[in-house]
Symmetry: C2
Subunit: 451 residues, 2 copies
């Protein structure tokens, strides 16, 4: 598939260069909106405008939804308000609520104005929750039935609903069973509905094993519940278990993808919402913050080295070998940091086991510290024919390995307590510590013993 997609992007770029709209239209019609979204993300800025204008209006809403924020804002700017309203009419309530912050205000007002009173109310319910909560993720069109009706009556209701709405909600695997006050009592799986005697009542067949999602739970918590229970959909309720809506597994997949991307990009100080082909000035500014932070930490290391200028002048081999010490400390530390940060993200590491885990990591680092200290000792003797220098080098490497591991285990725990995401700040703090400690131990011991 990968190669096919790559070919497709080449073909598209070619057609766009040739302004061969006819061929483009034929390809566009074949593709799913999510794929069109990825194609748009792959195209350099100069082609996006043309490509966007060729996408049929009934697809554009879903394409807008599938691309990342910066590109979405770009495409929205390129679309007239009247066209935007047409694009948006194909989206569900929760989808609208996801992108409304990027829409021009007059469009949002016009869109809400055009809704009937029921839809208006539903839209306001979803829009009242933050995007990254269950309330913000949910679809308000949960199909609910009563406990005391027969399965036959449920069929009749579903047929009627289908005629009225044109279709049943997507990813419908179960109906929510509620009492007359809209309080959730259980769920009726479609697979039970289609395989049980239809004279039974909903109460006879309904299940209680689906967890109810609290509207204020975070998106990541919702994803964990879906994962643990292999859910396709689940009802969202308020604090009194009154039905507010439902969340479907496609929303959960979006959350998982988003979290995984964010972790990956955060470790390089990047912002997920930023488009690959965003204006150079945007990207430069965004990255400058990270580079500036790194420059400060690099100067901390330089400042430590500065104390030992006299020693380096006398024994210049110190300058040659010192980056090796810092680098090994950084790598050892980052391995522990990654294990602990991942453990925290997956709820596997907590105050209950951090001491055991840190000791375990220190044992590992003790063994590897001794191993690589021995290796650099030998290399130094071969290179400089100086066993004292080799000894100092080996000792510093061993100490910085343990320091790195200890920092790698404690930094994420401390950051977590401070409410900072360890995935973002952990690496920088760790490198600052291992660099500073590495240079200090190596140059300090060398000054004391060798000079």
């Amino acid at each position: 598939m990968s190669n096919t997609f790559t070919k497709l992007v080449s073909q598209l770029t070619h057609s766009l260069e040739q302004e061969n709209d006819h061929e483009l239209l034929i390809s566009i019609e074949k593709y799913h909106p999510a794929k069109l979204g990825r194609l748009l993300e792959s195209l350099p800025n100069k082609y996006r405008d043309d490509f966007w204008s060729l996408i049929p209006v009934n697809c554009k809403g879903e394409v807008l939804l599938s691309v990342h924020r910066e590109l979405r804002q770009f495409l929205i700017k390129k679309t007239s308000e009247a066209d935007l309203l047409k694009c948006l009419s194909t989206l569900q309530m929760d989808e609208l609520a996801d992108i409304d912050a990027d829409l021009p205000l007059p469009v949002v007002s016009a869109m809400v104005e055009a809704m009937d009173s029921q839809r208006k109310e539903r839209y306001r319910t979803v829009a009242s929750f933050p995007d990254n909560t269950a309330g913000g993720m949910m679809d308000v069109d949960a199909t609910a039935v009563r406990k005391d009706v027969s399965l036959k009556a449920v069929y009749r209701y579903l047929c009627k609903l289908r005629k009225k709405e044109g279709m049943l909600p997507e990813q419908l695997d179960q109906l929510v069973v509620v009492d007359r006050n809209n309080k959730v009592q259980g769920t009726l799986y479609l697979s039970d509905l289609v395989s049980m005697d239809n004279s039974l009542s909903v109460g006879d067949v309904m299940k209680n094993d689906v967890p109810l999602i609290d509207s204020l739970q975070s998106a990541s918590q919702v994803a964990q519940i879906f994962e643990d229970h292999d859910l396709i959909s689940a009802p969202v309720v308020d604090e009194n278990n009154f039905l507010l809506g439902r969340i479907t597994v496609d929303d959960v997949i979006d959350v998982l993808k988003h979290n995984s991307e964010q972790r990956l990009l955060a470790s390089a100080g990047l912002n997920e919402e930023l488009d690959m082909f965003a204006p150079v000035s945007h990207i430069s500014l965004n990255r400058a913050i990270w580079l500036g932070t790194n420059l400060i930490t690099a100067f901390v290391a330089a400042w430590v080295i500065g104390f030992f200028e006299a020693s380096i002048e006398q024994l210049v081999a110190l300058a040659v070998l010192m980056p090796v010490v810092a680098s090994m400390g950084g790598v050892t530390g980052s391995q522990t940091l990654t294990v602990v940060t991942r453990g925290i993200a997956r709820d596997l590491v907590s105050s209950a086991n951090i001491v055991s885990l840190t000791l375990h990591e220190l044992k590992v680092s003790f063994i590897n510290g001794i191993l690589w200290a021995a290796v650099v000792f030998l290399i130094t003797i071969l290179w400089y024919d100086d066993w004292q220098l080799g000894g100092v080098f080996a000792l510093a490497l061993f100490v910085v390995s343990l320091t790195g591991t200890l920092s790698g285990a404690l930094i994420p725990i401390v950051l977590k307590k401070l409410g900072v995401d360890p995935a973002i700040a952990g690496g920088v703090i760790l490198t600052t510590i291992t660099d500073a400690v590495g240079f200090l131990i190596f140059l300090g011991t060398a000054t004391y013993i060798l000079i």
Copy 2:
């Protein structure tokens, strides 16, 4: 939830220390197997044995499935063959095929022996595909119906199937429609089944919009298809479109989680399958490879510095400032590397747009290079009162920024062509280049101009 889980681990550890089995049993019964699996992963080795023995046998199969490989092998070793057979009896075919490589051979043989001939054949079908293909992921119990029967007959068939098997397959959102040769013709959604006139035939109601999954497609490709089309399940077919089985969205979520974990851990040279509390010797060996690789690259940098020992002896400030140059080059490069690697993983970057993207990144790095070169120029003048040194420092920082960006863009493309995963090797290669080039440019220019 995070706090609750942390508390739970504390309580469990406490109960295990006190050997308070009664209290433990009460908590264990409340939890879903996936949660029990995560609890086991959180517990240090010494408690795992006791905790495992308290888990009811009918849960153990799913717990085994949910934990990572190393822990699974540990738990399997702690379980008698007779008990293992009992645990496994609750699992589906595709689940069995996922873990059979970790089971003792006699258990696998006994398990296959105990199956009826139909199950035996199904198991062999799944086991014949590699784990990371659609064939290895699929469940062989796809429920199929014929085109020419009425919806009423489908109901009767499902009721009968339920009576025979005790339940319908999990995550059943659609039935596969096949012809008499088992060739797939479309699918029948349960939501259509329950909302259409039941005198219609399957052929009238079935849909053709569900993509068929080729049994040889990779797990990641399958995940992409599910994501693009918001699928809950999809039929798996062979090269002639004959039905082999079905894949459900819970398997896809597992793939997404697995890929995301792997990317995160790979960047620190770690192996996902390795347990946090695995034996120290295992972990040490696993990490030693990465540390050894890093040691080689660090010595490449040291070797470059070694050429300039005479210059450093004359102007020791060079030793103080050189780590700053290397570090800024590394960070600039890693930002581009992350953008391009992620773009490749998401199929957004290919030969069609890599030139545009590299130029775009170089512009960004040009701006940031100038900015931070100016900053270090000023800092050097303040620190060393030496504008020539400042100029050399600034120039080196600017050149290494561009080198980092260029390497960050090209390394993943080259690795991809060589069939190496850029997420694993990219970072090390990049750092080697930026370190070596950084030291070479800085010390080389300094030697030429200043000394």
